[in-house]
């Protein structure tokens, strides 16, 4: 790799090459999404002729054939699982994080360390024992079991991020409240939570992305066609509609839309929240 020497006087040239790099990267990042979205409105022949061009005429055939069968049901299942697991995980993670941040009990760092290190356990490792439990309890193809497992897998990162944030809340604020005789519950409800809007929303969005996109566990635990999530459902699209790419692209576009909405909504908080979680972790 070459280290370019430009100095302050070379800033014009430097600026141009920097914008060139950024534009190239932005194009690389955006083109697949563009191909998907535009492809959804094409006919098969149209798509094969020019995957890049705008559609010759708007065709909704792809959306019509994607939106058949169990597609609406899959969408509902994904909504239920995602909402359920995000709400539960953020709620119990914030309780636990407050427990870790506020009470300096013996062995706290160890317990927290073990909890956080669970982040590195590969989900596939947990697959077999959890599947056996599911069979034993008759919970295969139920949304409940998947929600519980998702919550479990999201908790280590959630607790890690929120504990770091709660610890960074200035002690003076908390102390003045406890001098007034407020209980930890009061402090948590009326001071800590209102102060933590950005990290809570960030965490919600991170967990939402994860739950909505998860494939492996959903594939294994939701075996009946009615209970599938959208991700499992559309994965089968590819082979089923291999001669009808617009249908595949339309299905993918519908599956992506809720995420783009969530991202645009949470974007304002996102960077601030991620910084609070990862960088202040030192």
């Amino acid at each position: 790799m070459s280290i370019t020497r430009r100095g302050i006087h070379g800033s014009l040239l430097g600026g141009a090459s920097r914008y060139l790099l950024l534009t190239f990267m932005a194009a690389t990042a955006l083109i697949p999404g563009y191909i998907m979205f535009v492809g959804a409105f094409k006919t098969q022949a149209d798509f094969l002729n020019s995957p890049y061009g705008m559609p010759a005429s708007l065709s909704f055939g792809g959306f019509r054939s994607a939106w058949t069968d169990k597609f609406p049901q899959w969408l509902i299942n994904s909504f239920v699982i995602t909402t359920g697991s995000v709400v539960v995980s953020v709620f119990i993670a914030s309780l636990a994080a407050w427990g870790f941040a506020h009470f300096p009990f013996k062995g706290r760092e160890t317990v927290l360390g073990v909890t956080v290190s669970l982040m590195v356990v590969p989900p596939v490792v947990l697959l077999i024992p959890l599947f056996q439990v599911g069979v034993h309890l008759g919970l295969i193809s139920t949304l409940r079991l998947v929600i519980i497992i998702y919550v479990g897998l999201m908790l280590p990162f959630s607790i890690y991020m929120l504990t770091n944030y709660f610890k960074s809340i200035p002690n003076s604020i908390l102390e003045s409240a406890s001098v007034d005789g407020a209980s930890p519950l009061r402090i948590f409800r009326s001071i800590v939570i209102p102060l933590s809007g950005a990290p809570l929303i960030t965490l919600g969005v991170v967990n939402l992305l994860w739950a909505w996109n998860e494939l492996l566990l959903a594939l294994v635990f939701l075996q009946s066609n009615e209970k599938r999530t959208l991700m499992v459902g559309i994965t089968g699209f590819q082979s089923r509609y291999s001669l009808d790419i617009p249908t595949v692209m339309a299905g993918m576009s519908i599956a992506t839309l809720p995420l783009v909405v969530a991202y645009l909504f949470g974007q304002r908080f996102f960077i601030a929240g991620l910084t609070a979680g990862s960088v202040k972790g030192e």
């Binding site: 020497r5 998907m36 490792v125 947990l126 697959l127 024992p129 479990g152 005789g181 494939l215």
Partner: protein
Amino acid sequence: MLKQASTVGARNGRPRTISAGQQALKWISPAGIVLIFVFGYSLISLFTQSFRYDGKWVAFENFTLVLTDPLFQTALKHNFYLLFTVPVMVFLAFLLAVTLFETRRGMSFYRAAVFLPYVLPIPVVAVVFGQIYQLRGALNIFLTAIGLDGLAQDWLGEPKIALGTMASVILWKEVGFGVILLLAHIISLPSEVFEASRIDGAGFFRVHWSITRPQIMNTIVFFSVIEAITMVSWVFNYVYVMSNGLGGPGDSTLVSELYIYRSAFSNKAPELAAAAAVCLFLCTLLLVVAFFRIQRRSISGTFGR
């Protein structure tokens, strides 16, 4: 509960250790119960199963079978190859983060664009790239159009390059996450650091390579660890979707997760799958320990601490 809570809260500074522990337990237990079920129970059950066959103790037999299986060796080798994507990804994320940091006009657009792939669902990404990388797909059409027909390939159908093609998709998707993490840390650095070196006339990239990089080393290591773990244990989605669940062509994109999945559910050999899962778990732990060793050394090397 409320009353007891207030007595401890009133002496917030140094509550007695025992009562603090009891207090904390109440707050932590809901999460604790879920964690014990999902992780605690599963890991113990996994380890015991890996030493048994049909309920009988067989010591290391499952491990011998799995570790001598050429398919599992191939799968692990592929995960190992994928690790080489990490340095490329980290370098690219650093380059983009410092470039975005230096950019005023249009920064938020470029930032959003670079981050977008990270938001997209992996199955969607895999399917769309599957189309782009077809023999008569968008990439080859593009290459032909600019006169580079010679480079056109059957990107996913040729066993020699299929894994590399898959790595490029993973790289495309994950790099945005690194950019955001690094950029957030760079922005939080005190600005005097950069000012001083600019007056000295040091070049753009040189400033960031020699001054910014050591300052954000902990975030770089954090991102590297996350991505290394991803490469070893979280690429199932890409492989499953892009190879239709087969790890093909041949076994050219077989990875350990797919091997475990297939042993457990297609071959109905949960004991072997458990042994393979234990091996994968130990690999992950090894990786994490190695990384933190390196980090400690590199940080003390940089700051002489």
